[in-house]
C-alpha cells in the first residue's frame, strides 16, 4: 500500500479498500478517525425481501440517476464441506449476515450487500435452482478466454464509506469480532475458505485520482481522465433510462421469486490507447454513437446527457447502417438493440478496479434471466456488424479496449433464502 503522504484523502480511501483486511481497516481508522456509521435493524424481516433492493436507499443525482455506492468488495467463498450443505453450515452464515444487518443501516451510509450462488454450488445437489435457468458461465466472444467463478458463493459488499465496507469484510472473513459496535458471534473461517477477493470504486474523482498512482500500470501519465468522471473510460454511465428497474430484473415465480440473477465479468481496460491515441470525438463515437460525436451531445464526461444515453429509437435501429456509412458504431447504441419494447433488460452495478495493478472493470449486472445478459452481450459484441464497415473489434464500440479475464453467473436468492439454499428453495 502506498504511503499516505502522497495521496489525497479520496485516493487513500480507495487504496485502502483495494488493499483490504484488518490492516487497511486500522489504517483507515487511524487516518480518518472513526466515522459514525448509522446502525441497522433488529431483524431481517424489517428489510426488503429482495437482497438487490438498493435503489430506494441510494442517492440520486440532479438528473434522477441512481448513484452507485462508492466502495465495493467482492468475496468469493468456498464451503469446505463436500456435498450438500447442512444446518451446521447455514446457521453461522445466516448469523454472520444477520449481524451485518443489525450493525449497519441498509443504505449507502451504512452497508448494502448481496449473496449469490454459482452453478457450481448447485452441483452439490445435482440439480439447478428450481424455476431459474442458471447456466455455467462461458466465453462469450471468440477473442476471450476467461476463467470462471466456481467458488460456491459471492458476497458483494458496498457502501459510501470505506470504514463500513472494510469492517464488514474483516468481520466476515478475518475474524474481526465487532461490526460497528455489534459483536460478531461466529467466524466464517470455520467452514468457509476465501477463494478470491476483488474490490473497486465508482464515483466522481475516484478514477481521476488513480492517474498519479505509480503502483498502477496502464493509466496514462498525461492525466486525461476528467475529475468529474465516475468511471475510468471518462464518462458517466448507468443513466436511469438505460437501466432496468429492480422489478424488471426480479424473478417472479417459483421458490426463488423475489431473487434475481447476477453476472459478473472482470476485465482489464486498455486506457493508453483509449486516451492517448483516440480523440475525445472518437471516444464519444465508440461509447455512444457517431451522431453523439458529431452533435457534441455528450459533453466532456456525459454531463450533457441528463438521465439518458440519448439514443433515439432511430439511432438504435440504424446501428447496422451506421457501421457501413459512418465506419463506426457506439457501444451503447449496439447494446441498446437488445432492449425489449424499448425497455432495458439489465440493471448495471459495475465499478472500476485496480486489482492486479492495472485499470479494470468489474462488470456486475442483474437481470431476471442470465440469458438476457447473454443477449445484451451479443448485441454489444456486434458480430453481425463485423465486416460491414467495422471490424470484429476495430471501430466496433469499445471491444478493443476490454479484456475479459473472468466470468461468473450467480443466483441472488430472496433474503429469506440467502444462506445456502437448496435447489427447491428449502433450507
Amino acid at each position: 500500500m502506498r504511503e499516505r503522504a502522497d495521496l489525497t484523502r479520496r485516493g487513500y480511501a480507495r487504496a485502502l479498500v483495494a488493499a483490504g483486511g484488518i490492516g487497511a481497516l486500522s489504517a483507515c481508522l487511524d487516518e480518518f478517525g472513526e466515522r459514525e456509521i448509522p446502525g441497522g435493524v433488529e431483524g431481517r424481516a424489517e428489510l426488503p425481501e429482495r437482497q438487490h433492493a438498493w435503489n430506494a436507499v441510494c442517492e440520486t443525482d440532479d438528473d434522477g440517476n441512481v448513484r452507485s455506492p462508492r466502495h465495493h468488495v467482492l468475496l468469493s467463498l468456498v464451503l469446505d464441506r463436500e456435498g450438500e450443505p447442512t444446518a451446521e453450515d447455514r446457521r453461522p452464515l445466516e448469523e454472520a449476515l444477520g449481524t451485518l444487518e443489525r450493525a449497519y443501516e441498509w443504505s449507502t451510509e451504512g452497508l448494502l450487500f448481496t449473496v449469490g450462488y454459482t452453478p457450481a454450488y448447485f452441483e452439490r445437489f445435482g440439480d439447478g435452482p428450481s424455476g431459474v435457468d442458471l447456466p455455467q458461465p462461458t466465453a462469450l466472444t471468440d477473442f476471450e478466454e476467461p476463467e470462471f467463478d466456481e467458488a460456491d458463493l459471492l458476497l458483494h459488499l458496498a457502501g459510501d464509506h470505506e470504514q463500513a465496507v472494510l469492517e464488514a469484510e474483516s468481520t466476515l472473513v478475518e475474524g474481526h469480532d465487532e461490526a460497528n459496535g455489534v459483536g460478531m458471534e461466529v467466524d466464517l473461517r470455520d467452514g468457509f475458505t476465501l477463494e478470491s477477493r476483488r474490490s473497486g470504486f465508482v464515483g466522481e474523482g475516484l478514477p481521476a485520482k488513480r492517474q498519479d498512482d505509480d503502483d498502477v500500470r496502464g493509466i496514462p501519465s498525461s492525466e486525461p481522465i476528467p475529475e468529474e468522471a465516475p468511471f475510468f473510460m471518462g464518462f458517466r454511465s448507468g443513466f436511469s433510462e438505460s437501466q432496468a428497474s429492480e422489478d424488471r430484473v426480479t424473478i417472479e415465480e417459483g421458490p426463488f421469486a423475489g431473487g434475481t440473477t447476477e453476472h459478473l465479468s472482470s476485465m482489464t481496460l486498455q486506457l493508453d490507447v483509449w486516451y492517448e491515441q483516440d480523440t475525445h470525438t472518437q471516444r464519444v463515437a465508440k461509447l455512444f454513437s457517431a451522431e453523439h460525436a458529431r452533435e457534441g451531445s455528450v459533453g466532456e464526461y456525459g454531463e450533457s446527457l441528463g438521465d439518458s444515453s440519448g439514443l433515439t429509437d432511430e439511432r438504435i435501429e440504424s446501428t447496422a447502417r451506421d457501421a457501413r456509412t459512418e465506419g463506426i458504431v457506439g457501444h451503447a447504441q449496439k447494446a441498446a438493440r437488445a432492449r425489449e419494447d424499448g425497455e432495458p433488460l439489465l440493471l448495471r452495478r459495475d465499478f472500476n478496479t485496480v486489482d492486479g495493478g492495472r485499470p479494470g472493470l468489474h462488470f456486475l449486472c442483474l437481470q431476471r434471466e442470465v440469458e438476457e445478459f447473454v443477449r445484451v452481450r451479443e448485441a454489444m459484441t456486434g458480430a453481425d456488424l463485423a465486416g460491414n464497415g467495422v471490424g470484429q473489434t476495430l471501430n466496433n464500440g469499445i471491444l478493443q479496449y476490454l479484456f475479459v479475464n473472468r466470468r461468473g453467473n450467480f443466483l441472488v436468492p430472496p433474503r429469506s433464502l440467502r444462506a445456502l439454499p437448496t435447489p427447491d428453495g428449502g433450507w
Binding site: R217, R324, Q392
Partner: protein, 431 residues
C-alpha cells in the same frame, strides 16, 4: 524511458535531411543535444491527396517468423512513430506519447499459400517482463508502403530488459472461398522475445534511410521491404501483402472506359472482375450458395456471375481492407439490385470483396459504391489516400458473352506474363 534517447540518436543519422528544422536545445543534464531538431518524423506540409513518398524508410528489427499449425506470424520491432487512425472519413494523426518505447508490428500469413491474412477479429497481444504483464492490447490493422498490411501499435514498456510478447489470433470470420472454405477456424498462440536496450535503439535508428528532402511528398510510394532482400536486414523474411496482379484475377475485367485500365477512386485501384460459370460456382461455397434464385422467378436474360472487387494501393498493390462496398446493378438505366459486397479471403487471390450476381448481361451497368473507405490505420504516405472515394461506374463489356464457360482459361491463368499493372517501376529510392 521516453523517446529522447531514440531521437537524439536519430538526428545523427538524419541530420542532413532535417538540418534547419528547428533549434537545438539542452538536455536535462546540460549536455547540448539537438533533441528538438530531431526528426520528429516531420509532417510534410500540404501532402498530395493521394499516395506520396514519406520522409524516410523505417529501420526495424525483423524477428524470426513464428510457425504455428496453420498460420505464421512475423514480428517486427522498431522505434515509436506517428501513424494515422481512420474513423469513417476522418483521419487523425497519432503522435507517440512521451512514454512510448517501441512500435511493435506483426504480419500474419497462411503457411500454405503465403497469403497475408486480414485477421478480421484483430490480434491479442500481451507483453510481459519477467512474468509481469506490462501491456495488453489489440494492435491496429495498418497499411504501410514498406510493410504492406500488418498489425502495429506504439507501446510503453518498463525500462531496458527482455520482453516476452504473446500474440493470439482468432478464427477468421469473413467469407472464405475455394481452398480457404474450411480453414482458419481456430485461433493460435505465438510467443517471441525481444531485447529493449541501448543497442536496440541505436540499431533501429541507424537503419533509417532518409529520402532527399526535395522528394518528400512527391507522388509515389516506397518500394516494399521485400524488394530489398540482401540490402536491408531481414527484408527477405517479411511477408508482404500484395493483391493479385491484373492477370491473376480471374474473369472478365471491367475497365474504366476512358483509360481502358482498372478504375480508380481516391487513388485506390478498384480492380473489378466478373467470373462466369462454371468457375464462379467455386466461389459461392456455403456462404453464398444458399440464395440461389427461386424457380418461379423470370428466366434471367444474363448469366450468373461472381463479382470480384479487389481494391489496392497504386504502385505496391497493397490490398485495401476494412472497407464497406456495395454495388448498384442496373440495365438500360433500370435498377436491378443493390447489394453489399462481402469481405472475402480466397485461397488464390487473397483478400477481396465478393458478391454473387444472378443475372449479368453485356451492357449492364455496375456502380461500385465505397460506403466506408479502408478503416485501417495508415503509415506516412497513405493517410491522404483512400479516404474520399467516389463511386466507380462500370459497364459489363462485350467479352462477357460466352466468356464464362469454356474459354475462361485464357483470362484467368495469366501469372508472371499477365498484364502489366499500375506502375511498379515508379520506384522511389534515393540514388
Amino acid at each position: 524511458m521516453n523517446r529522447r534517447r531514440f531521437l537524439s540518436r536519430a538526428v545523427v543519422v538524419g541530420s542532413v535531411a532535417v538540418a534547419g528544422c528547428s533549434d537545438p536545445s539542452d538536455d536535462d543534464d546540460g549536455t547540448p543535444t539537438p533533441e528538438e531538431v530531431v526528426p520528429e518524423f516531420p509532417e510534410i506540409e500540404d501532402p498530395p491527396d493521394g499516395v506520396y513518398l514519406p520522409t524516410h524508410r523505417e529501420g526495424m528489427d525483423v524477428h524470426e517468423t513464428l510457425v504455428g499449425e496453420e498460420v505464421a506470424v512475423t514480428p517486427m520491432v522498431t522505434y515509436p512513430h506517428p501513424f494515422w487512425l481512420v474513423e469513417g472519413t476522418t483521419v487523425e494523426r497519432v503522435e507517440p506519447s512521451e512514454d512510448d518505447d517501441v512500435h511493435l508490428m506483426v504480419t500474419v500469413w497462411d503457411q500454405e499459400s503465403g497469403i497475408v491474412l486480414p485477421m478480421d477479429a484483430g490480434l491479442h497481444v500481451e507483453i510481459e517482463r519477467e512474468g509481469e504483464l506490462i501491456d495488453e492490447r489489440v494492435p491496429w490493422p495498418m497499411l504501410s508502403q514498406e510493410m504492406g498490411f500488418h498489425f502495429g501499435d506504439n507501446v510503453t514498456l518498463d525500462g531496458d530488459g527482455t520482453y516476452e510478447v504473446t500474440v493470439t489470433t482468432s478464427r477468421i470470420n469473413i467469407a472464405k472461398t475455394r481452398g480457404f472454405q474450411e480453414r482458419f477456424e481456430d485461433g493460435e498462440r505465438f510467443s517471441f522475445e525481444f531485447e529493449f536496450d541501448e543497442a536496440f535503439r541505436h540499431r533501429v535508428v541507424d537503419r533509417i534511410e532518409w529520402l532527399d528532402e526535395e522528394r518528400w511528398g512527391e507522388e509515389g510510394a516506397l518500394s516494399p521491404i521485400t524488394d530489398h532482400e540482401g540490402e536491408r536486414e531481414g527484408a527477405g523474411d517479411v511477408p508482404y501483402a500484395r493483391a493479385p496482379s491484373t492477370g491473376e484475377v480471374p474473369g472478365i475485367h471491367l475497365l474504366d472506359p476512358e483509360t481502358d485500365e482498372p478504375a480508380t477512386s481516391g487513388d485506390g485501384v478498384i480492380l473489378t472482375s466478373l467470373v462466369g460459370s462454371p468457375e464462379a460456382e467455386a466461389f459461392f461455397g456455403t456462404d453464398l450458395g444458399d440464395d440461389l434464385p427461386g424457380e418461379e422467378e423470370e428466366e434471367p436474360i444474363g448469366e450468373v456471375a461472381y463479382l470480384i472487387v479487389s481494391p489496392r494501393s497504386p504502385y505496391n498493390e497493397v490490398p485495401l481492407t476494412e472497407m464497406a462496398l456495395s454495388v448498384d446493378h442496373s440495365r438500360e438505366g433500370e435498377d436491378l439490385v443493390e447489394e453489399d459486397l462481402a469481405q472475402t479471403i480466397d485461397s488464390e487471390i487473397g483478400f477481396h470483396y465478393g458478391l454473387k450476381l444472378d443475372d449479368v448481361a453485356v451492357g449492364d451497368e455496375l456502380s461500385i459504391a465505397v460506403e466506408t473507405p479502408p478503416q485501417t490505420a495508415r503509415h506516412q504516405g497513405y493517410e491522404t489516400a483512400f479516404v474520399e472515394m467516389p463511386d466507380v461506374d462500370l459497364v459489363v463489356p462485350e467479352a462477357w458473352t460466352g466468356a464464362e464457360r469454356d474459354d475462361e482459361s485464357d483470362e484467368t491463368e495469366g501469372t508472371d506474363d499477365g498484364v502489366d499493372d499500375t506502375g511498379d517501376d515508379e520506384e522511389a529510392e534515393d540514388a
